[in-house]
Symmetry: C2
C-alpha cells in the first residue's frame, strides 16, 4: 500500500496547497520514538535544558516572519493573532528555562536518619526524575502555543523528556517548519535531532500511544479523540499517564445585580470573548446564565448589537465549519430556543457569529436540551435565562467538568455583600479556573495558572499551561542510605546547586 | 438471594471464628458513598482535620490491647509486630496532622497582574482542593498500616476527602473495630460517621470503584486485582485517578567487591529481610544477583545457615499458603534451578522459608525462566548467580517496574571508587526507592519517603507512604480576578494563615 500523502490545505479556499509529507508507518513511528529515547542522555544536564529552551525561543523569534506567514496560510488566524501567539510561545519556552534553573520542580526532600521514629527513619533523599519519551498530540487552534513548540513540548523538554509530536493535520507544513527550528536550537547545545520527533497521520498517533518506550502523553483536542487515546493509554500492558485536555462548556453566571449595574458592558464583553479567534478557543464561554429580567434584556440587547457587528471569519478547516453549521442548526431547532442573532454560513468558506437563548428551566432536567450543555466549537454561545436562584443551582449541578467557570457580580457583591463569596464557592467544584468579572478567553502563562479541570475538561488533575505543567513528566525516586559519593549533586547535604528543598522537615528556599 | 456472610477466620487453624457482617449490596455501597459525600463539608476546616487525625491516633492507642489481640487472631502476625505496626499507624496519622497544619501541600501560588507579559497576566491565585470521596482498598499484610486507618485513609482525610474502605477479607472483624474507633475520634470533632465508610465483599469493591460520587481510589494488593480495578476506574464515563500498589520483585545486586568484603553479613541480612513477616511484604527482596564466585559462595553459605534456622510461620490465609507452595514448586522444577533450602509446607498450617538459585544467564532471555522474575508472596527468594557485568545488565534490563532496587557495594565503592555511582544510576530507572547497603523491608514514614515505582509497582507516579501521599487526593484550582472579599483566606495577600507559598514568582516560607 502506498504511503498516504499529507497535504497542506488553505482554509480560506479549501484547496490543497502542497504535499508536505506522507503519513508515518509503524516503522517510522518506532524509529522516531527510539531516536527520542536515545536523546534522553543529552537532556540530563539542567543547564543544557535551560539553554536549549532559550535557544528555541531565540530561533523561533528569528524565523518569525516566515513562521507567521506559514501559520496563516494553513489556519487563517491572521498575522496579528499569530504574531502574538508566537510571542507567547517564546515567553513560555523562556519561562520553563527559568523553572529548570530554579529547580523547585525537583521537589527535593532530605531526611537524615532518626532512630526515635516508629519505625526508625534511615537516610532518605528524594527528588524527581524525567519519565522518558513524551508523546504530544497537537491542537488545531493554537498552531504555535499548543502545537510542536507549545506548552506540552516545552514542559516535557524542561522536565528532561524528549518528545515525539503527532502533528495536527490542519497545519502540517508549519509543524515541519517549527520542528526544524527547534532541532536547530538543539544542535547549538549538542542535543541530537531525535529530541523532537514529528509524525503525521491518524494511525501513527495510535502507534505512538501504544509504543512501549513512550512513557507519558499530552493531548489537546476533542472529547472523542482524546478519550480514544486515553483508553489506549490505559489499556497498554504498562499503562502510562495521559494528560488530555478534551473539551469545556465554560459556564458564565451573571447575577441580577451585575446585570443591573453593567448589563451592557457584560453583553459587549461576552460578544468579544465568544467571537475571539472565530470562537475557536477551548475556553470560549459556551453557556451563559443571565437573568430573565429587564436588566438581562439590556445585556442581551448589547450582546445582539455587538455580535451582529462581528465580521464573518474562516474556521480552521472545512470539517469544523460543517460541524459548526450542523451543531448550530440542531440546537436552534429545539422548541423555545431562539436565535436573536443567527450563527451560520457567512460566505462559501466563512461563518458568521450568533447566539441562542433558552429558558434556563429547560436545562434543569435530563432530555433533549442536554445538547445545549455540550461544547459547540465556533462563534456561538447559549444564553439561558433564569427566573430564580434555584434554577441556577439546578443547571450548575447538571454541568460536566470545565476548564473555567465565571461569575459576574456587582460592585457590592464583589465587596463581600450578598452572595458573591457563596457563588465563587459554588462554581469551584465545576472548573479548574474560576473567574470573577472577567472572561475566560486568554490563558495567561504564569506560575499560578491552571489550565485543566474535572473530566472531560482534562483527563487528569494536571495543567497544560503555567509553571506546574512540568510536574506531568516526572516521577519521584528516593535514595536510602546512599553515601554522598554515590548521590547526584541535587541530593547532597551541602546543596551545591542551591536548590529549594525540604531538609529534615524544614522548608529551605 | 440472601446476603453472603462475612466470616472472620483464624489463619492458625483455618477455622471460622465468627460471622462479622454480610457483604454489602449495591444499595449499601451507594449509601456509604453518599454518607461520605455528605461528610465533606465537615472536613473543610483544616484545623478540624488535624485535630481529628490526632484524636484518631489517640483513640487507636487507647484501644491498643484490644486491637492488637483482634489483629493477631485474624492475621497471626503476632503481638510484637502488630504493636509496632499500630504505633507506626498512629505516628502516620499524627504526621499527616502536622502536614495539614503546615499547609505546604496546598501549593499556594499567587501572581499579581502583569501587563508587560505576553499575554498579560491577570490576578491569579492557585491552591489545591480535595477531590471528593476516596475509595480505599485495604491490604492483607498490614492490618493497621495499609488498612482501615492506614496511609491511604490518613492521607485522604488529611486532604479533606472522606473515605469508603473496602475491607480486606482476611481481617473483617479488625476492620469493623478500627472503623468504630476512627468514627469515635470523628465524633469528638462533630465530624459525622459517614466520613469513614466500610464495606465488605468482592462485588461491593466493584460497585465502589464504579460509583459516580467516588472521585479517586487507593489500592494495595495483587497485580491481578489491582489491574482489574485500575481498568474499571479508567473505563468509567468519568475516569478517576487510581493509585494502586500492585506488586514488586525488589531486585538486589551484590557486587563482587561487596561479597568479598562482607558476604557472610550480606547473606545473613538477606535471610532476615526475606523472611521478615513470613515473607509477606511487598518490598521483600525477591531476586538477588550475586556473583558466581568464591565470595558469592560464602554469601550463599551464610544465607543457607540463616534461612535453615528460621522457624516456620503462618501465612495470612490458606489461599496464600496454597499459592506460595504451588509457586515455589513450579519455580524449583525449572532445569538448573536448585533449592539449597527448600521452602515448603511446615506443618498443617505453616510454611517454612527457603530460597532458590539459578545461573543468571538463564534470565537474560525471554522464556520459561521469566517465572523467576514474577513476585512469589511468602518466605522465598531467588539468587541468580552472575559471571560478568554483561549478565547483570541484561537481567536488569528485563525486569518489570519495582518498588525498590538495592545494591550492596564495598567500602571502596561506597566511597566513590569503582562503579558505585554507576550502579546507583543503573538501578534508578527500575524503582521508586533505591537502597545502598541496606534491605528494602521496613518502609519509614518520613517526608522524603517514596513508596511507589514504575508499573506494576504502582499504577501512577505517586506514593502511598510519606508526606507527599497527600498529593493524590487533591486538584488545583486557580481564581482569576477575584476580589479579596470573595477569596478563601489561603489565597489572600496578607497570608492570614501563614502558609508557605510562591508569591509573584518568589518562594516564601
Amino acid at each position: 500500500m502506498a504511503a498516504a500523502p499529507v497535504w497542506s490545505v488553505d482554509p480560506r479556499t479549501g484547496k490543497q496547497r502542497e504535499q508536505v509529507a506522507v503519513e508515518a508507518t509503524a516503522q517510522e513511528v518506532d524509529a522516531a520514538v527510539r531516536a527520542a529515547h536515545d536523546a534522553r542522555e543529552a537532556l540530563t544536564d539542567r543547564t543544557v535544558r535551560a539553554a536549549f529552551l532559550r535557544s528555541a525561543a531565540d530561533e523561533l523569534e528569528a524565523a518569525r516572519d516566515r513562521l507567521v506567514e506559514a501559520a496563516d496560510a494553513e489556519t487563517a488566524l491572521g498575522p496579528v493573532r499569530l504574531t502574538g501567539e508566537l510571542a507567547r510561545t517564546c515567553y513560555q519556552l523562556r519561562a520553563f528555562a527559568g523553572i529548570v534553573e530554579e529547580g523547585a520542580f525537583l521537589d527535593v526532600v532530605i531526611d537524615h536518619p532518626d532512630d526515635t521514629a516508629t519505625p526508625p527513619v534511615p537516610d532518605l533523599r528524594r527528588y524527581k526524575i524525567p519519565l522518558g519519551v513524551v508523546a504530544v498530540y497537537s491542537a488545531s487552534n493554537f498552531p504555535f502555543a499548543f502545537s510542536v513548540a507549545g506548552g506540552d513540548t516545552a514542559s516535557a523538554l524542561a522536565a528532561g523528556c524528549p518528545v515525539v509530536v503527532k502533528a495536527h493535520p490542519d497545519h502540517p507544513a508549519l509543524s515541519e517548519l517549527v520542528a526544524k527550528v527547534i532541532r536547530r536550537a538543539a544542535a547549538r547545545h549538542q542535543v541530537p535531532d531525535g529530541v523532537l520527533g514529528l509524525v503525521h497521520g491518524f494511525e501513527a498517533g495510535i502507534e505512538l500511544i501504544r509504543h512501549p518506550l513512550v512513557a507519558a502523553a499530552g493531548f489537546t483536542g476533542s472529547v472523542r479523540g482524546g478519550r480514544a487515546l486515553f483508553d489506549e493509554a490505559a489499556a497498554r500492558p504498562v499503562p502510562i499517564p495521559f494528560h488530555g485536555e478534551l473539551g469545556s462548556l465554560n459556564p458564565v453566571l451573571v447575577t441580577e445585580a451585575a446585570a443591573a449595574e453593567r448589563g451592557e458592558a457584560i453583553g459587549a464583553g461576552l460578544a468579544g470573548s465568544m467571537t475571539l479567534g472565530v470562537g475557536q478557543f477551548c475556553v470560549k464561554p459556551g453557556l451563559v446564565l443571565a437573568p430573565a429580567s429587564a436588566a438581562g434584556d439590556a445585556l442581551l440587547k448589547s450582546l445582539t448589537d455587538a455580535v451582529s457587528d462581528t465580521d464573518p471569519g474562516v474556521l480552521l478547516d472545512h470539517r469544523m465549519r460543517d460541524n459548526f453549521l450542523a451543531g448550530v442548526t440542531e440546537r436552534a431547532q429545539l422548541p423555545d430556543v431562539e436565535s436573536p442573532v443567527t450563527a451560520g454560513a457567512g460566505g462559501e468558506h466563512t461563518v458568521s457569529a450568533g447566539f441562542l437563548t433558552v429558558p434556563a428551566e429547560r436545562l434543569t432536567r435530563e432530555g433533549a436540551y442536554d445538547l445545549l450543555l455540550e461544547e459547540c466549537f465556533g462563534p456561538v454561545t447559549v444564553v439561558a435565562r433564569y427566573t430564580d436562584e434555584t434554577q441556577v443551582r439546578q443547571v450548575l449541578s447538571r454541568l460536566p467538568g470545565n476548564l473555567t467557570a465565571t461569575v459576574h457580580v456587582s460592585s457590592e457583591e464583589a465587596a463581600g455583600q450578598g452572595r458573591g463569596a457563596e457563588l465563587v464557592r459554588d462554581l469551584t467544584p465545576l472548573a479548574g479556573r474560576v473567574l470573577v468579572n472577567g472572561w475566560p478567553t486568554g490563558v495567561a502563562v504564569a506560575p499560578a495558572q491552571h489550565h485543566g479541570g474535572p473530566y472531560p475538561a482534562t483527563t487528569s488533575t494536571s495543567t497544560s499551561v503555567g509553571g506546574t505543567a512540568i510536574e506531568r513528566w516526572l516521577r519521584p525516586v528516593v535514595y536510602q542510605g546512599a553515601p554522598e559519593a554515590l548521590l547526584p549533586p541535587e541530593l547532597r547535604d551541602d546543596n551545591p546547586l542551591g536548590l529549594p528543598r525540604r531538609f529534615n522537615g524544614r522548608l529551605e528556599r
